[in-house]
Amino acid sequence: MMILLQGIGKRALFLMEEMGAMFVFLIRTFGWLFRPPVRIVQIIKQLYVVGFKSSFVVILTALFTGMVLALQGYYSLRKFGSEGLLGSAVAISMIRELGPVLASLMVTARAGSAMTAEIGIMRITEQIDALETMAINSLQYLITPKVVASLISVPLLVAMFDVVGIWGGYLVGVKLLGVSGGSYWSSIESAVEWKDVYGGILKSISFGLIISWVCCYKGYYTRMSAEGLGRATTESVVLAAVLILVWDYFLTSVLM
């Protein structure tokens, strides 16, 4: 019994410590974000890696998400004879929920894990120490460009996801299942409000922060071994994904 309690206590303490360290990391990173020099070249490079290189997988998942949503929506709506509302059903669930969450999860898997691995390898091979010995702050040089790039590119990827997803819904709903094209688009136009779009943007920006924060932190504090690096990569993807879903719930309940 004592051992069990001790184990729980130890685990709780460890979690507290880790959370504290993560917040300190975030605050220090933000401190360096606003100090010169601004790393334009690094930021552009990261925009390419995080944003452009994730776009294909985001488009692909968006297309199929939209298609399956239309399929499911059609069979549910048909029971009430309201297939005409298919467009709004697809668009609202895309814009409010699925776009931000699924696109962010794909970015986590695609770019977040790469961030952790890259920074982790730099830690293990002493490249981060080398930066520090050259009087270059590693947070500013390595981490802030990734955070900025994620804050910019995740909302853009989410927007792309929404558009492609709605178009995928059109493909299945209108071209395959025979819903009228006019009612598909007009139901979107009448149902989607600015509040929905705004909520989606807000979500996607905060998810962008979560991804870069968690994945950079895990890489930066990788244990000095190949095993440590593997674990850091796994943990960063899992933690970022869980945090995205939890934070999504909170934001949704606030934004309702």
Partner: protein
Amino acid sequence: MSTGLPIIIKLEGVEKTLGGQPVLKGVTLDIPKGKITTIIGPSGEGKSVMLKHIIGLIRPDRGRVIVDGTDLTRINEQELNDLRKKFAMLFQSAALFDSMNVFDNVAFPLREKRMVAEQEICRWVPEMLERVGLGKMGHKFPAELSGGMKKRAGLARALVMGPEIILFDEPTTGLDPLMAHAIHDLILAMHKTFGFTGIMVSHEIPEIFPISDWVAMLKNGKIIAMSPSEEFQQTADPVVREFISVNNGIHLAPV
């Protein structure tokens, strides 16, 4: 231990515990200016940890690290960054940035810190690569280099800013004896050319004796001996004698 020479770095009672394990238990050491001082000692005794204290990568739990009159343990991040401009470090793994080729690696500190015109860089960097024997290798990436070449590139990157102090963390680990010898010769030649203060951590006995001015031994978390290189080889201290003679291969069984 006093050397009677101008001192550039002073460690006073430096203690450090890492992962619950006391590594340094009161290291006191003076590093003479403009000389090469080598720290030897058994593996896992915290030699590299000590080196990282000198450049402020690790802060001590207790004790002081004084570089050129400034106590490293009492300054903030900005002041530490200023102080680090005196330093360069050659890492065990060379720590080249693997996203850049050799030329860009060597040019990196110049581009970052000095606002040097790009034409100057295009003149300096090849010259420095030539000096370390990597004349035609500027376009190669670290992954394409052998261990010895990586160390050479790392040395070029360390030298390019003209530092006052260079730290060498086991510069020949993982190299074959011939290559190790070549790297030692190179360090000595560069020291003669540039006159930096060198602090080296190494296992390579007896190779390090001719290139070092001073030798110190770290054991059980403390500096147990320090003297000029020639004297050190003649030491009467039994612990030191055993360490250097075993490494000399004297205790090997006859074939």
